[in-house]
Symmetry: C2
Subunit: 495 residues, 2 copies
C-alpha cells in the first residue's frame, strides 16, 4: 500500500494524529486493510498528507500500542491479526424503558431519609477530587489496605473521639462501602450462630439483612427510654442491635442510665455484644451531647457503626465499623483477606475533607439548616394541630400515649418528627388524605417488624429535604385534610 487518502479536518478539536489513528483503525476493523498488509512508511504518508512526520509517527505508535499494527525492524509497519482485539462499538443497545421506573409525583415529600443536597459542598469536593488525581500517583491505584487506608482511619478516629466520645484506635476501624456491606462483613467475623435482638419498631434495612443472613432474630419492646433491658435478657438473644443516639423511627435518645444497663447486660456473658448504630447522631438539637455507648464500654462489648451517607450525601458510599479488640483479632483471622470496598481515590478525598476542616464546617452548616427547618416544622405543627396546648408542655418526648388528638414526639434529634394522631382516622387514611394534596407522608407502622399490639396512627414527617416555605404550606394543607371532622366533634388538641 502506498497511500492512504485520509481527509483530515484541520479545524477539528481532535488532534491530527488521532484522526489518522482513528481512520486506519476503522479501516483495519472493517477489513478494508487486511492483516499482513504493509502500511505506507511514515515518511511517505507525511509527504502525501502534507503534515509533519512526527504526527504520523504518533498515530502509528498509538496503533502499535493497541495491537492493530506490528513493527518489523528495517521493514516497516504491518497490519496485525486483529481477530483477538477488543472492538466495542460504543453503541449501547436500548433495552426498553424498563430501567426507568415511573415514580409517583408528589409536590411535597416528608421523607424521613432525606438529605439537603443543595448543601452538598460541591466546590470543596470537586477541588479535593481534582487534587487527589493531580499527580500520576500510581500508588493510588494499587490495591489498598483491607480495613481502609490508615490516614483515613486515623481521621475518622479523631472525629469519632472528638464528636462522639468514641474510644478507639485506627486499628479498630474498618472502612466499607455502606452500612449494609459492613454488617455483612461483621457476619463473617462473628459467625452466624447468634440470636440478634432488634428494637420494635426498627430500621428495617438491618433487620432484613440479618434475617437474610440466616440469623435467629427476635424483637424486644421499647419503653420511652429505648430497648427494655429486662425483656432483652429474657429474650435469649446474645446480640442487641440498638440506635441509642437517635432511635429510628421513634426518635428516642437513650438516656445514660439505660445505656449503662445495656452495657451491664452485655458484660454478663462472654458471647454477648451490642451493635450500636450511631444513626443520625450528627443532628441533635436539645440537651447536652451524650457520648456514644461505645465511649462507656469497659468490656469491649460494643460494635459501633456509623456512616458518611447521611452527614454528607447518600451517594457517598462510605461507612465505618469500630470493632472491639477481641473481635479485631477474629476479623484478621477470618475476614482479613477480603478486599476493601472503597476506592482509594474516594478514601483520599474523604481524608482531606476531614483533615482540612471541610467536614466540620459542613456538619455545622447542615445542623444549623436542619435545626431551623426542625423549628419551623415544630411550630407549624403546634399552631396547626395543638393550638390550645399550654406552652412549655410539648417537650416531654412522647410515648404516643396520652389525651390529645395530636401529639408530637421525637423532636430532640435527627431529621424527622412523629405526629401521633387520635382523631378517628387510620394511618392509611391520613396518608391517603395527604396524597390528595400532593403531600407524601410516611406511616410508623411500616417500621414495625412485628405487628403493634395497639395499632396507632402515627405519621413520620422528615424535614431535611423540605424548605421552610414548603413546610409551612404543606402543614397548612395537612391541617385542612386531617382536621375535617374537627368542627364536627369540636374536640381540640390537649397536648
Amino acid at each position: 500500500m502506498n497511500d492512504l487518502t485520509i481527509s483530515l479536518n484541520l479545524k477539528s478539536k481532535t488532534p491530527l494524529y488521532e484522526q489518522i489513528y482513528g481512520y486506519i483503525k476503522k479501516e483495519i476493523q472493517a477489513g478494508r486493510i487486511k492483516s499482513g498488509e504493509k502500511l505506507p512508511s511514515t515518511r511517505s504518508l507525511c509527504r502525501y498528507l502534507e503534515i509533519s512526520r512526527s504526527t504520523v509517527e504518533l498515530a502509528y505508535e498509538q496503533l502499535l500500542s493497541e495491537g492493530y499494527v506490528e513493527a518489523e525492524a528495517c521493514r516497516g509497519f504491518f497490519v496485525a491479526d486483529v481477530r483477538g482485539l477488543y472492538r466495542l462499538d460504543g453503541s449501547i443497545q436500548e433495552y426498553g424503558a424498563a430501567g426507568k421506573k415511573e415514580k409517583e409525583e408528589y409536590l411535597y415529600d416528608f421523607t424521613p431519609n432525606g438529605v439537603d443536597l443543595n448543601s452538598f459542598p460541591y466546590n470543596a469536593w470537586r477541588k479535593l477530587s481534582k487534587e487527589s488525581l493531580l499527580d500520576d500517583r500510581t500508588e493510588l491505584f494499587r490495591l489498598g489496605e483491607t480495613q481502609g487506608e490508615y490516614a483515613l482511619r486515623a481521621a475518622i478516629c479523631s472525629y469519632l473521639h472528638q464528636a462522639r466520645g468514641v474510644n478507639c484506635a485506627p486499628e479498630q476501624i474498618i472502612v466499607g462501602a455502606g452500612n449494609d456491606y459492613l454488617l455483612m462483613l461483621l457476619a463473617t467475623v462473628i459467625g452466624l450462630d447468634h440470636k440478634v435482638a432488634f428494637e420494635n419498631p426498627t430500621y428495617r434495612q438491618a433487620y432484613r439483612l440479618f434475617r437474610n443472613l440466616s440469623y435467629r432474630i427476635c424483637t424486644v419492646d421499647m419503653d420511652s427510654q429505648g430497648m427494655d433491658v429486662e425483656k432483652l435478657a429474657a429474650s435469649g438473644a446474645d446480640i442487641a442491635f440498638v440506635m441509642p443516639s437517635h432511635q429510628y423511627p421513634l426518635g428516642i435518645v437513650m438516656p445514660l442510665k439505660r445505656r449503662l444497663a445495656l452495657l451491664q447486660w452485655a458484660g454478663q456473658d462472654e458471647r454477648r455484644y451490642i451493635i450500636e448504630d450511631d444513626y443520625d447522631s450528627e443532628f441533635r438539637y436539645k440537651g447536652k451531647p451524650i457520648p456514644a455507648l461505645q465511649g462507656y464500654d469497659k468490656n469491649e462489648k460494643v460494635i459501633f457503626i456509623g456512616t458518611f451517607s447521611k452527614a454528607i450525601a447518600p451517594a457517598i458510599r462510605m461507612s465505618y465499623l469500630v470493632l472491639p479488640k477481641p473481635l479485631l483479632e477474629q476479623f484478621r483471622k477470618r475476614s482479613g483477606f477480603l478486599n476493601s470496598t472503597v476506592s482509594k481515590v474516594d478514601q483520599l478525598i474523604m481524608t482531606k475533607f476531614i483533615e482540612e476542616g471541610y467536614f466540620e464546617r459542613h456538619l455545622n452548616k447542615t445542623r444549623a439548616l436542619y435545626k431551623s427547618r426542625h423549628d419551623v416544622l415544630l411550630s407549624c405543627l403546634k399552631s396547626a394541630f395543638c393550638q390550645s396546648a399550654p406552652p412549655g408542655r410539648q417537650n416531654r418526648g412522647g410515648s404516643g400515649k396520652g389525651g390529645g388528638v395530636f401529639k408530637i414526639s421525637g423532636e430532640r434529634a435527627g431529621v424527622h418528627l412523629l405526629l401521633h394522631v387520635q382523631n378517628g382516622m387510620t394511618e392509611e387514611e391520613l396518608i391517603q388524605r395527604a396524597k390528595t394534596r400532593g403531600i407524601r407522608v410516611y406511616g410508623l407502622s411500616e417500621y414495625y417488624v412485628e405487628p403493634q399490639r395497639e395499632p396507632s396512627a402515627t405519621i413520620l414527617l422528615g424535614y431535611a429535604n423540605m424548605s421552610e416555605e414548603k413546610i409551612i404550606k404543606a402543614v397548612g394543607m395537612l391541617a385542612e385534610v386531617w382536621k375535617e371532622n374537627e368542627t364536627l366533634n369540636q374536640e381540640s388538641c390537649k397536648k
Copy 2:
C-alpha cells in the same frame, strides 16, 4: 463589643472574609467571645477594618450558616450557644507506626496478581472525573439504584456481549464494590443451604469467603481441561465455582466440550448453578476467543462474575454480577433492599470510560503490553531452562506431568506462567534460592485448598508488573540459582 482587632493579611491566598470568619470562629470556640455577646455591626466593623461592608457581611453569613452566631431582627448578630457545635481540631493523633507494616523488599517481584499501573489511563480518568463533577448535579449525590445505575449496566452489558459473548439484559446486572462483596450478596440471594464445589487448586479468596459464610464446601480435581465433571457429579455439590476463561492458578482455558458438559450437569437438577468467575479473560494470547460459559447457557444456570479491578486498576473497586433470570426474581425479593456499594460519581466515570471508547483502547493497549512481556518471559524461560527442547513442542499446555526437568504451562492467557520443576529441589527451596537474588516468586502449593496427592515443585511467574529488561535479568539469575546442580547430573530439559 465595639471592635474586633483582626490583623488581616491582604497578601494571603485566604480571602479576607475567610480570615474574618476564621478569627471570630476561633475567638468564640476559645470562649474569648462569650455566648450571648453582641458582635459589632457590619457597618462599624468594615469601617474599623477599612474594608468593604460586603466582605464583613460574607464573613457573618458564614458564621451564621455554621451556627456560631444568631441574627436578631433589628438588633444585630449575637454569639450563639456553641456547646453543641462540632469542633474537630484537625490534629490527627499519632497512633504509632503500627499502621505501616514493613514489607520485605525484593528487586524483582513475579506476582501473579500484578497490574501494570504505568498503563493506567490517568489523563482520561482525570478528565472524566472532572467532567463528572463539573455541574452542580445534585442528582449525582442522591442514593442510586440498588443494582447500579442503568446507564452503566447497559454499557457493561454491551461490553460483555461484544467482548465475552455473554447474553444478558442490563436488568440482570448488579454492579458492586469488588468480587468479594458480590459473592456475599449472592449468598443472600441463593441462601446458605448449598454445597459448593471448587477446583483444586483454586482462587483462595472465593473459597475462604464461601467457607466463612458457612457453606458446605468441597473440592473437585481437575484434569488438563478443567474441573472433572464426573467427579463433580459424584461430589454431591449443587454449585460449581469455576474459572473457564483462565483457571487460576493453573492457567487452563476450558475447552468448549468441557463447558458444555458442565452446563449439562447443571441442567440435571433444579438446585444446581455454576458460578463462572471470568478471571483474566481480558488477556488471551492464543487461539480463537471462546465465549463465556454464560453465552452457551440455555437453562439459566450460570451466574457470571467479572471485575474491572484487573483490567483497569485494583483500586477501582468495581465488579459486576450477571444473574440468571430466576435468581433475579429472588434477588429482588430477598436482597433488593440493599444499597449499592459503588458511588454514583465512580459509576458515571466508568460509564463514560466505556462509552467513549477509552476502555477498548486501554484493553488493547494492556493486552499488547502483556503479550510482549509474556513472549519475552516465555522465550527467556525456554532458552534458560529448556534449551534442548525441539521448537513447537512447548504449546501443549501442560498438566505438570511428563519427562523434562523444567516444563512450562499456562501460556495461553492471563498474566502469569507456571514453571514445573523436577530437579530435586522442593518448591520452598526454589523460592528461597530466588530470594537470595532479590527475586520474589510464588509456589503453586499455596493455591491448593486440599493438599496435593503428589506434591510438585511448581513456580508461578507473573509478568504484568515486570518490564522486559527486568524479566530478562531475573530469569537469568533464576537459571543460575535453580540449575546449580545441573552440571552435576547433566540432565537437560526434555519438554
